[in-house]
């Protein structure tokens, strides 16, 4: 038996697995193995933190968008990311953990967020690359997660997927416009793709053979497809979109196989581990910004509590 469940009641565990196998969603009050709960808390809070931290590289360009139209669109997209973070925090809380604890774990470095957001957004083309590639990769992952076995997570994913395709299109549109522009603009777009391509592929995580937690997550249908399957799907969808507007991805080993799927070069896993372990270009500033915003919002939360308490006591004495 798997070590992760050796202390569980075998009968309850068997019932649980039967439900999962029958595609019956697990709901907050249902019995679940401790390891299932822990895996979900880790994965869902990491997902929530990613949505929230992901606002920073995009917010970086809000004051410098090329037009009012693109400013309004970017603002709406960033607001969606905040919303996605909130859906996911609420869904995570159904597992019996408070939002304050989740935020605290992020600040203490005990919880992670997607390492993609530790790269800087250097030019306006990066906003295009983030929408098209980063959100594009997130969509592939999230479409798969709509079928996850945990009910609240699945419902949050359905809602998020409905909103996410606008994000990818706004990113692609930015790149289309640049590719129809001057040589300088085309170079800027290509440069953004050169920097964001490999980190986007890393978003799917390590190869299946090096992904220790995957087997239980697949058995319990938290994850429905493996890292490598999802990565391949993303690549196969994305390469034709790049070619259509004259962009190339920085992979000399990439070619189209006879089966219609792309073979791609080896990912630099050392860079991946390095960024995950806190040594990416922006790890420190992303976390510092979040901590600062949280601390500077403290008086607002306190004032809101005081106001609510005073209104409550006025009601009682009236």
């Amino acid at each position: 038996m798997d070590k992760a469940v050796e202390n569980e009641n075998p009968e309850l565990l068997a019932d649980f697995q039967a439900k999962v196998d029958a595609e019956i969603k697990i709901e907050p009050k249902d019995w679940m193995p401790d390891a299932y709960r822990k895996h979900l808390i880790r994965q869902m809070s990491q997902h929530a933190h990613s949505e929230v931290i992901g606002m920073q590289p995009e917010g970086n360009w809000l004051t410098r968008t090329p037009s009012l139209r693109s400013k309004k669109i970017l603002l709406a997209k960033i607001q969606d990311e905040a919303g996605h973070g909130l859906y996911l925090y609420s869904a995570t809380e159904t597992l019996g953990i408070s939002r304050d604890t989740l935020v605290q774990w992020l600040h203490e470095g005990r919880a992670k967020y997607s390492s993609i957001f530790n790269y800087p957004s250097l030019t306006w083309a990066d906003i295009g690359a983030i929408g098209w590639l980063v959100d594009g990769a997130a969509i592939v992952n999230q479409v798969s997660l709509q079928k996850t076995s945990y009910g609240p997570y699945s419902r949050a994913m359905v809602r998020i997927c409905k909103e996410e395709s606008f994000h990818q299109r706004q990113g692609y549109e930015i790149l289309v416009r640049l590719m129809n522009g001057t040589k300088e603009q085309r170079d800027m777009a290509q440069d953004a793709i050169n920097r964001w391509w490999w980190p986007s592929l890393m978003m799917f995580g390590p190869h299946d053979a090096d992904s220790p937690r995957s087997s239980l997550a697949l058995k319990w249908k938290i994850k429905r497809e493996t890292n490598d399957e999802l990565r391949q799907k993303f690549i196969d969808k994305t390469i034709p979109q790049a070619e259509l507007i004259g962009l190339t991805v920085p992979d000399p080993d990439l070619y189209l196989q006879d089966n219609g799927s792309y073979k791609f070069g080896e990912i630099d896993w050392e860079e991946f581990r390095n960024v995950i372990n806190g040594n990416g270009p922006c790890n420190k500033v992303r976390l510092a910004n979040h901590i600062k915003a949280h601390q500077e919002g403290k008086w607002v939360r306190e004032a809101a509590i005081a106001y609510a308490e005073r209104k409550q006591s006025q009601k009682l004495t009236a």
Binding site: Q79, L86, S90, A91, S98, D100, A304, I305, Y307, A308
Partner: protein, 95 residues
């Protein structure tokens, strides 16, 4: 004074006039006014609703079939409540 994000509220959205309100999700807010405004910003950014209810999560009482099958049993043993239970003569119309 505590520093937290306020109590949890459940949000119910009516997608069109005349339809029932449906559970959309939950959120944190310090009072009902704030919960309604947060619900508008969080769950109806794309005109998903014509009306919103918010209820403190602690005020919702629930029971589910799993582990309580006796509780829901009376519904399953009265099959004569379903119209398909009845045998009707061939050729009957509008019933």
């Amino acid at each position: 004074m505590s520093d937290n994000q306020g109590p949890l509220w459940e949000v119910f959205i009516q997608t069109k006039p005349g339809l029932p309100h449906k559970h959309a999700g939950s959120l944190h807010a310090y009072d009902a006014d704030m919960a309604l405004k947060n619900a508008r910003d969080l769950y109806t950014r794309r005109a998903e609703g014509t009306a919103i209810w918010v209820v403190l999560s602690e005020n919702i009482h629930a029971i589910q079939e799993e582990g309580n099958s006796d509780y829901f049993e009376p519904a399953t043993d009265k099959i004569y409540r379903h119209p398909t239970f009845y045998e009707l003569p061939e050729g009957i119309k509008h019933m």
